[in-house]
């Protein structure tokens, strides 16, 4: 995908080591839900292999948090503040200025009378 075509959005960066097993905490998931944006979810780090270990509770499976549907993130950073382990950071998107790019040729204004009154006659 060409870098010209890029929809800017904030990014949630998760330090998984600092976070540990996310399912024990989930403060960031809940704060985002209560904020109304609902862009932080949690997912298991690996699909549980039942031959190795049979988890009996959800808490026994290792989970991580992730930013998802970040188009809806308004950058309030409540998740960063609420995290007790300081595992989250928010990389704010740079919004290009001017924000809108008009992909059109410059308009050609055709005027047949100059300021001093001379007429331009187009010849073909």
């Amino acid at each position: 995908m060409s870098p010209d075509h890029y929809t800017p959005r904030h990014r949630l960066i998760v330090d998984e080591e600092a976070c540990g097993n996310a399912v024990e905490c989930l403060k960031c998931v809940h704060v985002c839900r209560d904020h109304g944006q609902n862009v932080i979810g949690f997912v298991n780090k690996e699909t549980p292999d039942l031959e190795e270990f049979v988890p009996r509770k959800l808490e026994e499976i290792d989970h991580r948090v992730m930013g998802c549907f970040m188009i809806n993130c308004d950058g309030c950073a409540k998740c960063v503040d609420v995290c007790p382990k300081g595992a989250l950071s928010l990389e704010r998107a740079e919004v290009p200025v001017p924000r809108a790019v008009i992909n059109k040729e410059p308009a050609i204004i055709m005027c047949s009378v100059l300021k001093d009154g001379t007429r331009i006659v187009l010849e073909d």
């Binding site: 839900r33 979810g41 997912v43 298991n44 988890p55 009996r56 549907f69």
Partner: protein
């Protein structure tokens, strides 16, 4: 009629084609992958983890086309919105008397607690009980209870949508009826935010309001409007009438269920030539 019905409907809607409910079909290779993904231990990795990949790699929301191709060829799991009467017909068609109510993965993993709204069909029951021992709250119910459950979901105002387990050349067997909302359902949000339409298709119907009956109804405070999860209902304050934006409507029939004068009915989507490509 979208391509699902053309290819798998045998002249009818794909989810009402009895051939798709053949028990042998559920056991075939092309579909068994979906069973481990949706009801086995892979469920979480697929349903929620897959979405993180989309988020990272979809750099531009104006180019969702590529993801439509991925969704329709690789995901082995597409759905379509159905109204209540079709949901009840589907449950009647499903072989076996056992259904399992599982938690909604999208709601759980986005912090909306455990809501038991996903009604999986018989072939899934044993797989789930065996391969996901940590799910102790899943409930096995009978066909009669399942029919009641569908009606209850309709009263609550949740959209019914039927999902298949793999779109292979031999068929498209339905595996689950989910009850989604735009706030937390992954595929619905993929549609609404990213324009990826092949995750969840719109229904085969479009709502239509009869203005005469609507005028006799609730007037100032139309109760159909908050029922629409997709924002397809519009109200004119001048004549106190509601109308449906056909391009936004998913045909779920939730608005129809609460109309006090019965002014809303579901039309076949094909009644509008303009909707030929809106699925």
């Amino acid at each position: 009629m979208c391509r699902y019905c053309v290819e798998y409907g045998n002249g009818a809607k794909w989810y009402l084609n009895p051939a798709n409910y053949n028990p042998d079909l559920y056991r075939k290779d092309g579909h068994s992958t979906a069973f481990t993904m949706l009801s086995g231990p892979d469920k979480n990795s697929f349903e929620v983890g897959g979405m993180a990949t989309v988020e990272e790699s979809l750099s531009d929301f104006n180019f969702a086309g590529g993801f439509n191709v991925i969704m329709s060829t690789m995901s082995q799991h597409q759905g379509q919105v159905v109204p209540l009467e079709d949901a009840l017909k589907i449950i009647e068609l499903v072989p076996g008397d056992r259904f399992i109510l599982e938690h909604c993965a999208c709601r759980r993993f986005f912090g909306h607690n455990d809501v038991y709204t996903c009604l999986f069909f018989d072939p899934v029951v044993d797989i789930t009980l065996k391969t996901r021992p940590w799910e102790t709250d899943s409930r096995v119910i009978s066909k009669k209870e399942a029919l009641e459950f569908e009606k209850e979901m309709d009263r609550k105002g949740l959209v019914h949508s039927v999902w298949d387990s793999g779109l292979d050349s031999d068929g498209k067997p339905p595996i689950v009826i989910c009850h989604c909302l735009q706030t937390d359902c992954m595929p619905t949000r993929m549609r609404l935010y990213y324009g990826i339409t092949d995750g969840q298709r719109k229904g085969e119907y479009v709502a239509k309001v009869d203005p005469e009956l609507c005028a006799q109804g609730c007037k100032q405070f139309p109760i159909c409007m908050p029922r629409c999860p997709f924002g397809a209902m519009r109200r004119s304050p001048l004549d106190n009438l509601t109308s449906v934006m056909i391009t936004e409507c998913y045909g779920c029939g939730l608005c129809r269920a609460v109309c006090p004068t019965g002014a809303i009915r579901l039309m076949d989507r094909t009644a509008y030539p303009a909707l030929v490509d809106v699925w």
